[in-house]
């Protein structure tokens, strides 16, 4: 099976995607055409090396700027919005259809290096729960319109873990350390258990310096900075690598403080592990989340209330699943996330996904604007719907 479509398949794809775009436009989303060529930096800084390894990168013929073929249309849509909107804070609804590029290096139409994406993005909406629900409903409507009878929907919400950690008494740096390992369950668990254990997990080549800070009873930022400065001076080490003395001192100090911080209790570890074990049909999960919230306290109670509010607005659908550990491989999602899966040619494939990414526009130099949306991989959708 070659990676490119036959003429008949191409025609079916065009018809499918036209119909989906008509649906989006009929709901008030403006059809835009963001650039295919994008500055590489934006993607690499937003997505990290994982996406970079799949992104087509090159330098312009003048050798001035590093460019890429867009791996996705969400970031180009955000950039378009910031470039053209008179006031980017005002509500805007965009939809798009066009090629996206991700290197897979396989001769497989389900993993082609170039594919057509359709999708929509919604900025500056009022009620987040309602917008999340409407976006998911539209995604499901679109895949049904294409003929997909039994989409399987997986949902998650990284914001819940953040709220749970905020509800637990621990240093902020521990919350950060745990949250950044959310997408890697084994590392997360190892970190959690290390925080519950009285010993500090072994010596490293930095331990001697940490000892010196830990021995001084009242060591604070000043002492740590002085220690680092003395050490650099004595050993004749130039400060390279973009970090300041204060950054280095702060981490040494935190390591010293970690030794004095009481470990997490067994109840706390159990609470987090019970939370992460939640997975199943959305309504069942909602009840379990409420029991977690009762054990955890205020921030988690608010987050679960928002979860329940959104659940009431979501399309009635038997096949919708939720898991607390579910996160998407793109690292910019901040709240509700979903992924639509289906069988294509006997394999389960992801035909689309999306969610909430409230930090993105600010991260691109714009104002703080709530944002959500989704994209569909239309060739996979066509094959999963039986059109090819």
């Amino acid at each position: 099976m070659p990676a490119s479509l036959t003429a008949a398949q191409r025609k079916a794809l065009q018809a499918q995607n036209r119909a989906i775009m008509e649906l989006f436009e009929s709901r008030g989303f403006e059809h835009i055409r963001p650039r295919i060529l994008q500055p590489a930096d934006v993607f690499l800084e937003k997505s990290g090396e994982d996406i970079r390894s799949r992104t087509f990168l090159f330098t312009d013929p003048d050798g001035q700027q590093e460019l890429c073929l867009r791996p996705d249309l969400t970031v180009p849509t955000c950039r378009y919005h910031l470039a053209v909107a008179e006031d980017p804070r005002r509500e805007a609804k965009y939809c798009y259809r066009g090629p996206a590029f991700r290197f897979h290096g396989m001769n497989d139409p389900l993993h082609a290096d170039e594919f057509e994406q359709v999708g929509l993005e919604w900025f500056g909406h009022g009620n987040a729960a309602a917008a999340d629900a409407e976006v998911l409903a539209l995604a499901l409507e679109a895949v049904r319109l294409a003929g997909l009878v039994r989409p399987y929907v997986m949902t998650g919400d990284p914001g819940l873990l953040r709220a749970l950690l905020d509800s637990i008494d621990m240093p902020q740096r521990w919350r950060r350390r745990l949250f950044m390992r959310f997408r890697r369950p084994e590392d997360f668990r190892a970190t959690l258990h290390a925080m519950a254990s009285p010993d500090d997990g072994g010596r490293t080549s930095a331990s001697n310096l940490v000892d010196r800070l830990a021995e001084a009873a009242e060591a604070g930022t000043e002492e740590a900075v002085a220690l680092v400065e003395r050490e650099l001076e004595t050993r004749g080490l130039p400060l390279v690598g973009g970090r300041k003395v204060e950054d280095i001192a702060q981490r040494l100090l935190e390591k010293a403080q970690d030794r004095r911080t009481p470990p997490l209790s067994r109840e706390t570890v159990a609470l987090v592990e019970d939370f992460l074990a939640i997975s199943g049909p959305m309504h069942t999960c909602a009840a379990e989340l409420e029991r977690i919230a009762e054990r955890a306290g205020a921030p988690m109670e608010r987050a679960v209330a928002a979860f329940t509010e959104r659940l009431a607005l979501l399309p009635e659908d038997g096949g919708m699943e939720f898991a607390t550990g579910f996160g998407r491989s793109f690292d910019y999602y901040t709240g509700f996330v979903f992924q639509i899966e289906a069988d294509a040619r006997g394999r389960s494939v992801t035909v689309g996904g999306g969610g909430r990414y409230d930090d993105m526009l600010a991260g691109l130099g714009g104002p703080d604007v709530p944002a959500c949306g989704f994209g569909l991989h239309t060739e996979r959708l066509l094959m999963a719907a039986g059109g090819a």
Binding site: E49, L209, V228, G241, I248
Partner: protein, 233 residues
Amino acid sequence: MDRRLVIALPSKGRLMEKAQALFARAGYDISRIGHERGYRGAIDGMENAEVAFLSASEIAHHLREGKIDLGVTGEDLLRENIARLEETAQILTPLGFGHADVVVAVPESWLDCATMTDLEEISEEFHARHGRRLRVATKYLRLTRRFFARRGVTGYRTVVSLGATEGAPAAGMAELIVDITSTGSTLRANHLKVLDDGVILRSQAVLAGRTNILADPRVQDMQARLAAVLKTD
């Protein structure tokens, strides 16, 4: 009649000398055809075979492309340049010379950074503070990505560096590097240190062969003779 085999050897430096000496001890006399600096050679002791003298990195590329059947090169170059190494070529015999490690090295002034876990935390902090990713200068893109992914470090980007990688942090081109080192003295001279758990690969020179010729008796014979010589070392 057996198919003609092409075996590639390093064309210069200590790798060339050591490879030729080892092959001679195993009973393979290798001579260059034409003038002394010619790029083709003959091999005594193996039937219907010829030698190509190439640079170590060309040998890895040519093995991938199938332009040669066997080659002596660094394990680092094979693992870096051949995407699915096991499907394309196999390492037949580690040759016991050309030892060097591919390592993650950070500025020595990062007194708080001893492990990949530290690096993971620093990369997150760096991004939050500066709005950009830590940059890793390297020519080993594939090895870096695989190792960093396995250690959970994702908040970084690579900067391709084809020479003098160890100077990149001081030059402000990158914050840290992944590079090959045998004694570590170049790293120390540039005020860089290897992380406690930052050895990606302990590399050495190896004999590698395309998977489709592994059953060839001439190849198996070569493997056995090299192994026998190495055992007496």
